[in-house]
């Protein structure tokens, strides 16, 4: 404070780097948000999953459809080989092995083969692994929300309600089981 009299005469200039460095940090933080997804999209394989949706709104990200997955339900997982005897803790990572539909051309849903708490050691060449986090009643695959343009929201929602069985999520999975949601199919309509 003792030097404040001088401050008003020659204002302390903030050097430009003290603005540019934080700005660079901000830009890299913004860009870091989709990094994992971009990697998965680039290196991943496409699979299709059967869904079951509802529809809320997120302040930051806009309108979205909440998606549940048939293969992530507790009732389905419990029947699979490899389901642990001890109830898994919340937050435990789990891996589900999926096999493609018989007619591989179609967008039929992939089916679960087995489940495990570690990455499966052996896999058939056409099989894929999907990683999730156990939430106590279902597996969180990191594909819980599909963000949609405001104006097609209602159409998509109605379409899904009319065709619950025909709704598929197009998902990329990479070699480590990480996922990226690509788009949503209702019958042959792509959203």
């Amino acid at each position: 404070m003792h030097s404040s009299k001088f401050e008003s005469k020659s204002k302390p200039k903030i050097p430009l780097w003290r603005f540019l460095v934080p700005l660079a940090i901000q830009v890299s933080l913004v860009l870091s948000i989709p990094v994992q997804k971009v990697l998965t999209i680039t290196n991943g394989t496409t699979i299709y999953l059967q869904t079951a949706p509802v529809d809320p709104y997120d302040v930051l990200r806009g309108r979205y459809v909440t998606l549940n997955y048939a293969i992530a339900q507790r009732s389905r997982l419990e029947t699979l080989p490899g389901w642990p005897d001890n109830w898994p803790n919340r937050g435990t990572e789990m891996y589900v092995v999926l096999k493609p539909p018989i007619a591989n051309q179609s967008r039929d849903a992939w089916q679960p083969v087995s489940v495990s708490e570690t990455y499966p050691e052996t896999l058939a060449p056409d099989q894929q692994v999907i990683k999730g986090r156990w939430q106590g009643w279902r597996l969180d695959l990191g594909l819980g929300a599909y963000y949609i343009p405001e104006n097609i929201g209602d159409t998509l929602e109605d379409d899904i309600w009319d065709n619950p069985e025909g709704t598929r999520a197009e998902v990329k999975v990479d070699k480590r089981g990480r996922t990226a949601l690509m788009s949503l199919w209702v019958e042959d309509r792509n959203y």
């Binding site: 030097s3 200039k13 830009v27 933080l29 806009g62 819980g144 929300a145 949601l181």
Partner: protein
Amino acid sequence: MADHKFRRQLAEVLDSWVTEDLIGPDQRDRLYAHYQLDTLSASASNRFATVLLSVGGILIGLGIIVFIAANWDVIPPVIRALAALGLMAGLQGLGLYLWQTKGRHRAATAFLFAGEMAMGASIGLMAQWFQVSGKPSGLFLAWSLGILAMAYGLRHAPTGALAIILWLIGFVSDQNGTPTWIYAPAVIPWITALVLFPLAYWCRSRWIFVCSSLGWFVALGTLAWELEAVNDYAWNENFETYFLSMPLLIGAIALWCWSFWHQRNVPWIQINLGPFQRIEGSGASTSVENSSRPLSLDPGLDFGPVAQFLSLLGLVVLFYCWSFNDVWQLQFDRSVTTLGSALRAFWLNPSAITISVWILAIGTAVLWGDRIRNSLVPIEASSEQQAATLRTLRLSDRIIGISALSLLILMHSGAWWGLSLLLTNLGLFVLGGAITWQGLQLSQRWRFWLGLLTITIHIITRFFEYETGLLVKSLVLIVCGIGVILAGLKFEQTRQA
């Protein structure tokens, strides 16, 4: 230093005094320097306008977020992303430009805010574009870190406050499911202590200090909650309150001791941190030139009173919680064995949380030791009256320290056939009294009222806790009411005098 309002009025009339020949120009300059009126004009001269402009900036930023969240899909995502990033950089850059070259602080703050909100919009857009789902806490965290970097870079207090608010929003939205590591109970107190509190020093802002203290208690609350959760299955509910209170109590004591350390070291901090800010760009000559002048306290660094208020508030609340009979009833079936097991669980359970508690406890002990060492130094005072005031202050500080220590001991020792209950209530009463007394001595309004309210609420609670007749209850309420009014009036009178 004289209060803000007086300095404002003085600044307005000084020039007219010179024209009216009441004082000479050199006297005006001396008054100007003495009351540091130049800092007045340099700081936001009209707080109301600042608040309005900042709110405007935030609203514009929110508009940008909603615009982008509305998925304006006519424009391809790449262009939208670039536009969002451009807005983020451009608005903040414009803010910096207005601040640095035009000296327009308020408009600059508004633009910086708008740009910072645009960062949120950019993050939201990225998440939307690449279908990043899950808890929003990660997004708020990234946003808050970006703003925090800018607050450190530009040394801009409002930006810092925004960063801490976003940080806390991220924390709240992180509460279900697996926590993000940075918000984990064992980590968050240390991030608060090492990242948020230094920002208050760096920006010389009491507001950031208050926000950081809020973050500190929230962090310790999480730590306490986690301790309770971890030990929930192993120990019965006797120790629930113990597990929940301990970290908060230690945290409150740490803040209390730290406030005195801060007050003692403020001149050093000011010399070593101060010129760094002030002289930048104007050469180092000022510190030499001014070295003969006594150093006056920078109001931006005057964290002592607010830290003491917050820690005393925390202490009073904890004491109050433990003053109920029901809480002590739960402690009754503590045997030496169960106490030992609980202590082992609390202090020796090998986990990151326990390590955090240890660091917290050791840090507090060091601060407390430093406090005791300094309270034994003989009083240096210019007059006998001043020495007397200092002595009473020191005594009441000791009383506060001893009551904190006694609560610590009582919490560990469990219920001794009602004696602990009695002692806690006595402690709360003495604490309230000591705070009121200090308020009187220092003629500090907030401390006086905190103490008085503590005593009043304490008395009223006890009468409602136990079975007493309605007549007695009404009598107590009336007596307390009259007492508070009389004491308040008396205090304001002495303060005026």
